[in-house]
Symmetry: none
Subunit: 242 residues, 2 copies
């Protein structure tokens, strides 16, 4: 038999894996709407031509992936899960943290990604911010300026960036950038004196640009600010491109 190594036959997949894959497609495809109830396990088994046990193993995979949720009792069953964006954000934060701490992802990549994500967000925020956004941001900047305890200044800064992000008005960007911000936060705990004042001044300049709706200026000032933050938290960084 000439089955050489260079022809790649599809590796055989266990039935439970294939069942899980097909169900996943149906769910992501929209054929099964969120909240909808799947057929009972026996019917699924009959439909796929496998046993109920195999179906259950597949359902466990989907349930672990958060795609379905099962309930017992009459009127119970397996339902397509309804997910909230916050859940995804929480998951992203914990997993990103793990990947960074295990060096699967470098801190430099994370810092760079923050810049690549947040600068376009600032640009967008300048175009789309509401009056409420402006008021909230101003309140945060003021509180940050007047707070000299030092304890919560990092909190204020984090809040400012989060609020700026939310002013972007894009749920996907919020979902992705929020975890990055959360992870980047603990890196700047013991800064040099004056660091927080400089940051507060930057925040005020960003807010000013956003208030005036000047997208280019907002992006530019944010970029400056983030570079400064990066140089403080990770001084070894030396990429002239950002």
């Amino acid at each position: 038999m000439p089955l050489d190594a260079d022809i790649d036959v599809a590796r055989i997949r266990p039935a439970y894996d294939q069942v899980a894959g097909q169900l996943k497609l149906l769910i992501l495809n929209g054929s099964l709407a969120p909240g909808e109830r799947l057929p009972v396990e026996s019917s699924l088994g009959a439909a796929f031509g496998v046993s109920r046990n195999t179906v259950r193993e597949a359902l466990r995979m989907l349930s672990s992936a958060g795609l379905v949720r099962t309930e017992r009792g009459v009127n119970g069953g397996t339902f397509v899960a309804q997910v909230a964006p916050e859940d995804v954000s929480d998951y992203l934060e914990s997993r990103l943290g793990l990947l960074v701490s295990s060096d699967s992802i470098s801190a430099a990549d994370l810092a760079e990604a923050r810049i690549m994500l947040e600068v376009p967000c600032a640009r967008q925020a300048a175009l789309r911010r509401s009056e409420q956004d402006l008021a909230d941001l101003q309140a945060i900047v003021d509180a940050e300026r007047d707070d000299h305890t030092g304890w919560s200044r990092g909190e204020h800064s984090h809040e400012f960036h989060l609020r700026l992000l939310s002013a972007t008005g894009n749920a996907v960007m919020e979902l992705m950038l929020a975890p990055v911000l959360a992870i980047s936060r603990p890196n700047m705990l013991q800064p040099k004196p004056g660091t927080w004042d400089a940051a507060n001044s930057d925040h005020a300049r960003i807010l000013d640009a956003v208030r005036r709706g000047d997208a280019d200026l907002a992006a530019e000032v944010t970029l400056e600010h983030l570079r400064r933050v990066r140089d403080i938290t990770d001084p070894a960084y030396d990429d002239s491109s950002n």
Copy 2:
């Protein structure tokens, strides 16, 4: 019995869930090192006092979470796996898909996020691409140009954007943009004639800018391309800011 509603007794959890939870703790705890082999399913069942089927359902959950990997045959078994960024990406893709199909996230937000993510990536790719990146991208563009079957042209396009993303050299951006690209893909299945040729021409222009290391041009051309794509897949969009 005074069991009021405000005391929250731990909701009973299925055995498979508890088994999965305990094994997960052992793994994250480090008690089970990556690569280490778990006891055989029968032994696990005996240890936890459950049947082998229940153990298997628990293992499917862990396997779906990317914590373990199973192999068949003698010297097979279940082994502790190492967490890979791809797992997080897969998870993100499925969750994002759900959020979009359940209208928790609008398609417009997704399309906009794609632009906000991919344009900075193109800029970065122009600065950091390797010769290998250029060769691979060129190969994809050529294959796309010469392929008139129509069937796989969407695949080529998807591949181009993925490869451009990987040329960015930032693991975090790859992690986040890849799912967005995957979800955006099936939206353009029945395009007007000439659409693919135009896309191919755009790809060639992007590659050219990246090859010359012109970050601004790469960003600009990519932005044009993505706007065009968005207008095709979602013509109702009317935001002049992007």
